[in-house]
């Protein structure tokens, strides 16, 4: 008994260490992000502005531009990391992410239709994207409801929708004016550049709404992963728990992609990194959220400073994430346990 207790203690301590390290990294990136750029602020200047001092320009730079962009990166990154971790643990598939399941495609399609065809702008587009993501998610869940709950049907249906939405997007982009086509392209990559307090609020609210379910998930996921029979004998209503967790993952993913677009690799990579650092077999929810936030904020810091800030954040996450995952696959002695 003592040995198991010691092991559990060691595992918990490792999880806490990893999470603390990730959090510290997020804070470091955050401080660099708000203080550097074309209009640098020193440490005392920055905290002065936070305290309400400084001129109007300083106030605008910090509260109007940098803080919303930073917070959006943190919140959307955390949401994507959590959503990816939930999907991957529930469906037992390391490739499961909002992209593969067509949820990001739904958001992108709705947003592109809203801007290019209906001529909407601003928060209305975000709302349309949120609706699109949720609509696709609802269709996938409805279509796979009669399944055994193993998730295969959910994945296959999602892949079908992902193809369908990308066909619709290609169709619209081909026919649009070239300027409009380029602005529509944003919705196929994703970026946190178009941040505002409204978008921060939307992602923040979905994260807060999802939080109780995430706490519930951290308790039931290890039990669900033992299989339905064990789960029921341990007093967990397997099917209902799965439903709650899928809806939670969908909510988190929809809130994030509605605002920042289908940023590649965060939902796929952050949970993989967290699991590798903490140890396989755990869902590593908190660490996945921190890793997602770190990935998105660090990528956005790079996006703001490289190539004159013209590159969308999603390009950087893919350019960083892909080589990392490839290295992981090439070097791992058992790549399939990723």
């Amino acid at each position: 008994m003592t040995s198991i207790a010691t092991l559990l203690h060691a595992a918990r301590r490792r999880a806490i260490t990893v999470t603390a390290f990730l959090l510290a990294a997020v804070i470091a990136v955050a401080l660099i992000t708000v203080m550097t750029g074309k209009y640098p602020l020193s440490v005392p200047e920055f905290f002065g502005v936070i305290a309400g001092q400084g001129n109007a320009l300083d106030q605008y730079i910090v509260f109007g531009v940098r803080l919303p962009r930073l917070l959006l990166g943190v919140l959307a990154g955390a949401s994507l990391g959590l959503a990816g971790a939930l999907f991957q643990s529930l469906l037992l598939n390391p490739l499961a992410s909002p992209d593969l399941l067509g949820i990001s495609g739904g958001a992108a399609t709705a947003a592109i239709i809203a801007t290019l065809i209906l001529g909407w702008a601003g928060p209305l587009v975000t709302l349309a994207a949120f609706g699109g993501a949720f609509l696709i998610a609802a269709l996938i869940i409805a279509a796979s409801r009669s399944g055994t709950g193993s998730g295969h049907r959910l994945i296959l249906t999602g892949v079908g929708f992902a193809f369908l939405t990308s066909a619709v997007i290609g169709f619209i982009i081909k026919r649009a004016q070239i300027n409009e086509a380029q602005s529509a392209l944003f919705w196929t990559i994703g970026s946190v550049a178009n941040s505002s307090w409204t978008s921060v609020t939307l992602v923040g609210v979905t994260l807060i709404v999802a939080l109780p379910a995430v706490i519930y998930a951290s308790r039931v996921l290890p039990i669900i992963q033992m299989g339905p029979a064990s789960a029921v004998s341990l007093g967990v209503h397997d099917a209902r728990a799965r439903r709650i967790l899928v809806v939670t993952a969908v909510l988190l993913a929809s809130g994030a992609v509605a605002v920042v677009g289908p940023i590649s690799f965060v939902a796929l990579c952050a949970p993989a990194v967290a699991r590798r650092a903490i140890g396989y077999g755990t869902a590593a929810l908190t660490a996945s959220a921190c890793a997602g936030a770190l990935m998105l904020t660090a990528s956005d810091l790079a996006a703001q400073n490289l190539f004159g800030g013209a590159v969308p954040t999603g390009v950087i996450t893919g350019a960083i994430g892909a080589p990392y995952l490839l290295w992981l696959l090439g070097s791992s002695t058992k790549g399939h346990s990723l």
Partner: protein, 336 residues
């Protein structure tokens, strides 16, 4: 007696072959200008250049019909090979990074080499998809367990996403590149001449022969790596043969018709149960089915949005995706 699987499968091959012939005639006859079947036949047998109907059939519809048949066969067979290789019914040629590589190579040829002629994109696409496949295989083979199906799938997905990022970087910063690229990237059969077909045909045929030669290896691989080895097949040789055939086939198709993504996934998926898991039959069924689907998609695309056209790649996705979801619904359990 009609329940014997071999007879049912032969019947299905015959039915699919008939449907190809019907689809060919439909593709030659239907369009913005409807041409009666006797005129179509006359144009093929007794060509008269002064007859407008004959001119349309021979100079416009014949090349794209030919491309639809060849690209459809190539994509469907390539998809079959990929699903067999990775033992994953979700696999399609794009999984090896082929589409990502082709797209990036076309973009580089636009931006760096200053090309803008779609005819030369053919070669960029060919080189790009080949390089991507080599890269995916060599990275996946470095892992401790060799290029096993799951590592291959993950590596392909990762490389595709990485290459797409670079493509997106070019597209968001260079408007002219986007303008040239978006017309290539939609998967259309128009504007490609018979010279393209002639240039690509040897590679396509080589891929097809290699594919047919590797069907018995696919059957062995389906039993698992160890059993396949026990049956005397080298895993590395088998995988290299299958990947080589896939690259030749799908690169030829991409070169002729642009990246048409859905066909390679959906056609083998639809025919899996009819073939009873025998890859010799699956290839024989997938080839005519792929040709039919792409011919129908192209023909439908010509007439649903008159006076304009909808590209075959879109129509294939709009037809194929609902069919696939409907089939998933019908199955009791789906194994991935």
């Amino acid at each position: 007696m009609t329940h014997r699987p071999s007879r049912r499968r032969s019947l299905l091959v015959i039915l699919l072959s008939i449907s190809v012939v019907i689809a060919i005639f439909a593709s030659l006859a239907i369009g913005a200008r409807a041409i009666p079947i006797p005129d179509v036949i006359a144009a093929l047998t007794n060509y008269d250049p002064s007859n407008n109907n004959h001119l349309v059939v021979v100079s416009q519809r014949l090349p794209r019909t030919l491309i639809a048949i060849l690209a459809g066969v190539a994509l469907a067979v390539a998809g079959t090979l990929m699903q067999g290789l990775t033992r994953n019914p979700l696999a399609d040629p794009g999984l090896l990074g082929l589409n990502g590589g082709a797209s990036l190579a076309v973009l580089i040829s636009i931006v760096v080499l200053g090309w803008s002629n779609p005819h030369v994109f053919v070669w960029a696409a060919f080189v790009g998809s080949g390089l991507a496949a080599v890269l995916v295989y060599s990275i996946a083979a470095r892992g401790g367990t060799g290029a096993n199906p799951i590592t291959l799938a993950l590596t392909g997905a990762a490389l595709t996403a990485g290459l797409t990022s670079i493509s997106m970087f070019i597209l968001t910063t260079d408007q002219q590149a986007l303008n040239n690229f978006r017309f290539w990237s939609v998967g259309s059969l128009t504007g490609r001449g018979l010279d393209t077909v002639a240039a690509v045909l040897p590679m396509l045929l080589a891929g097809l022969i290699l594919a047919i030669a590797s069907t018995s290896r696919l059957n062995a691989l389906a039993l698992g790596d160890q059993l396949a080895q026990g049956l005397g097949y080298s895993l590395t040789t088998s995988r290299l043969m299958i990947i080589g055939a896939t690259v030749l086939l799908s690169a030829s198709a991409t070169a002729m018709a642009g990246p048409i993504v859905f066909l390679g996934l959906v056609v083998p998926h639809l025919l899996r149960s009819a073939s009873h898991g025998d890859y010799r039959w699956l290839v024989a069924l997938a080839a005519p089915a792929g040709a039919t689907l792409l011919l129908v998609a192209d023909t439908v695309g010509r007439v649903i949005a008159l006076p304009g056209e909808v590209e075959a790649g879109f129509v294939a996705a709009f037809i194929g995706a609902p069919i696939m979801m409907w089939i998933i619904q019908g199955k009791k359990s789906v194994s991935v």
